[in-house]
Symmetry: C2
C-alpha cells in the first residue's frame, strides 16, 4: 500500500516490454497523472525504453534495465507484463514487496491464483502483506469481459440463477501470438496434441469462471472445461485445417450449471461480439457490439486498476476487490 507516497503523479514501473508491454508503455506516457520511472526487460537491457516501444517522440531518456529491482526503485506501482503462470511472476512480486511497490499484472493465472496454485497464492499473499503492497492479476480476459463485467451486471439482480458469457473473437484481427495460441492453420491432430501438452488454449477461462462463483457466493463442485478445434472454411486457412478454438468453462453446483463461459477465437470468426446473459430476477441480456478489443482492453484494464490498487489494503487481490475510484 503506497497511498502515503502518492504525490500529484503516480510513479509507474513496467516489467516486460513485449507487444503488450510496449502498448502499456505508450499508454502510461500518454495518460495524465502517471510518470514512467523505470522499465525492466533483460532481453532489451541498455536500450532506450521509448525507442523500444516506438513512442515516436525520440528517446525517452529512460534505459531499459536488466534488473527488476533496479527498475522498481522509487515506483508506486509496477505493471508486470510477462508470464502467464503465478510461478513466473512470484519473483517479481517478491522484488516489488521488498520495495513497497504495488503490482498489477496481466498474468492470467494470477487473476484467481487460488484456483490452480493455492500454495503459491498463499505465499504470494503473505509476501504482499509483509511488504504492505497489493497485487492483482487483470486484463480484458481474464479480468473484464468474462468476469468483472458479468459480475457487475449481476449486482443489479435480486436473484441470479445462471450466468452465461459468450465471446467471439476474430483472430485474424489480433497479433500473431494469439493466432498461434488458438492453433490457426494446424491439423486437427496437431491441435489436439497441442491442447494435451498445454501449448494451446486461452488461459484464464477457468479463473474467470471461479471468480464469478466467488462473486455470486456459490462454491462450485467442479469447473468443467473443454477446448475443441474450430474447423471451418475461412480466408487464409487451408481446407480441413484448424481456424481456431472453441473453449468452455462451466461451473457446476449440485448438478446445476451456474456459470457457462463460451469462448471462440478463430481466424475469420463471424459476428465477433461479447454477450452476457443472466437468468434471474431481473433477467439481463447484454451485447457488446463487435466485442471488446482484446489488446486495447487489456491495456485499459491495467491502467484503470492503478488508483484502486494503490488505495487497496495489502494482500493478494482479485477483480472482486476493485473499485471504480481510488
Amino acid at each position: 500500500m503506497t497511498a502515503e507516497k502518492r504525490g500529484p503523479l503516480v510513479r509507474v514501473a513496467i516489467v516486460g516490454l513485449g507487444a503488450i508491454g510496449r502498448e502499456v508503455l505508450r499508454a502510461v506516457c500518454a495518460r495524465p497523472g502517471l510518470l514512467l520511472t523505470g522499465v525492466a526487460d533483460p532481453a532489451l537491457a541498455g536500450r532506450d525504453a521509448g525507442e523500444v516501444a516506438e513512442l515516436g517522440t525520440g528517446p525517452l531518456g529512460l534505459i531499459v534495465a536488466a534488473s527488476v529491482l533496479e527498475a522498481l526503485a522509487g515506483a508506486d506501482v509496477a505493471l508486470v507484463l510477462t508470464g502467464s503462470g503465478v510461478a513466473d511472476v512470484l519473483p517479481i512480486v517478491e522484488a516489488a514487496a521488498a520495495q513497497g511497490v504495488d503490482v498489477i499484472s496481466t498474468c492470467e493465472d494470477l487473476a484467481y491464483a487460488d484456483l490452480a496454485t493455492a500454495d503459491l497464492a498463499r505465499r504470494l499473499d503473505a509476501c504482499a502483506r509483509a511488504g504492505e503492497i497489493s497485487v492483482i492479476g487483470t486484463g480484458v480476459n481474464p479480468g473484464f469481459v468474462m468476469d468483472r463485467l458479468p459480475l457487475t451486471l449481476a449486482a443489479a439482480c435480486v436473484r441470479v440463477d445462471r450466468v452465461q458469457v459468450f465471446r467471439v473473437v476474430d483472430a485474424a484481427k489480433r497479433r500473431a501470438p494469439l493466432r498461434a495460441k488458438v492453433g490457426a492453420g494446424m491439423t486437427v491432430e496437431e491441435f489436439r496434441a497441442g491442447v494435451a501438452a498445454g501449448r494451446l488454449g486461452h488461459r484464464g477461462l477457468r479463473e474467470s469462471c471461479a471468480l464469478i462463483g466467488v462473486g455470486l457466493g456459490r462454491v462450485f463442485d467442479e469447473i468443467r472445461s473443454t477446448i475443441e478445434p474450430v474447423v471451418a472454411e475461412r480466408p487464409g486457412i487451408a481446407p480441413g485445417r484448424v481456424a481456431g478454438l472453441h473453449q468452455l468453462a462451466v461451473g457446476v453446483r449440485g448438478g446445476q450449471e451456474i456459470v457457462r463461459l463460451d469462448l471462440e477465437m478463430s481466424v475469420g470468426a463471424l459476428d465477433p461480439h461479447d454477450r452476457i446473459v443472466i437468468e434471474g430476477d431481473p433477467p439481463l441480456d447484454v451485447l457488446v457490439r463487435g466485442g471488446t478489443q482484446g489488446d486495447r482492453g487489456t491495456v485499459g484494464a491495467v491502467l484503470s486498476a492503478i488508483p484502486a490498487v494503490i488505495a487497496a489494503p495489502p494482500g493478494l487481490k482479485t477483480i472482486l476487490d476493485l473499485t471504480l475510484g481510488g
Copy 2:
C-alpha cells in the same frame, strides 16, 4: 463500519415500507445470509411487517416500529427507502450513526450528495465518520445503468473521449407513481408547470452525470439539463396529451461534451432498452436488450451493495467506492 460485528448472518433493518420497501423486505427474507431484524414506517406502525409486505407466509412476527431508532437496534445495515432529498434521509443517517449501523439508501440525491447539497454532504460525511458507519445512495438509476455500468465499461478503455447513455423505459409497465412522475396524461402546459415546480422529472440524472465525471477524472464546467414532454400517440393517452418525458443531462468541459445521459420514460415507449456508447480507445457500444427493469434492478442494487458497504471504511460513499466483493 460493522465488519467486527459480522456473524454468519448480516442483520438488516428496513426504513420505509412503500412499494420499493415492500419489495426489498421480500428480497431480504428470501436471500440466504440476511436476517431481517427491524422495520420502521410511522404510517404502518404496529402492523406485522410480513403482512404489510404481503410475504404470503403468514405473520413474520416482526412489528413495524414508528421509531427509526427502535428499528435499527442491533442491525448491521439499514436499507433506507424513503425520501429523494438528502435532507429527508439525514435524520435517519444520524440515528444509524448513533447506533453504528451502515446505511444504503435509494435516496436519489444521495447518489452524489456533493452536487446539489454540498453542505449537507459534508455534515452527513462527518456524522458517518463519527459513528464509524458508511453511507451510500444507490439503486438502478441513479446507481447502476447510467453511472456504475458505463464507468465499469470505461475501465476497459485506454482513453475515453465521450460517454453516452440512452435509456428508454416504457412507463406503462411501471408503477403508478412512476407514470405520475413522468407526467403521463397531462397537457403540455401542466407538464411544463410541473417541471418548473420540481414536481415532475426523473431525479438523479445530474448526479449520475457528475459521478461519471468524477470517475473519469474530469471536472465539468457545467452540467446542462433539460426535461421535455413526449407527445405521441400511445395507448391510453388522449391525443395531444403527454405520454411521458425526455430528459437530458450533459457534462461539458472546455466547450466539449464529455458525458450525455439521455432518458426517455413514457407510456408505450417503443423499443425499451439501455445503450451505452463510449467513444474512445477501444470504443465500446453496449446494448441491454429490453433495458434493466427499474424496480427489480433497484432492489438488486440495494441488496448487492450490502457486503461492500459493511466492509467499507467509514464515511459518505458513492458507487465509485463499491467493490464486487465484500
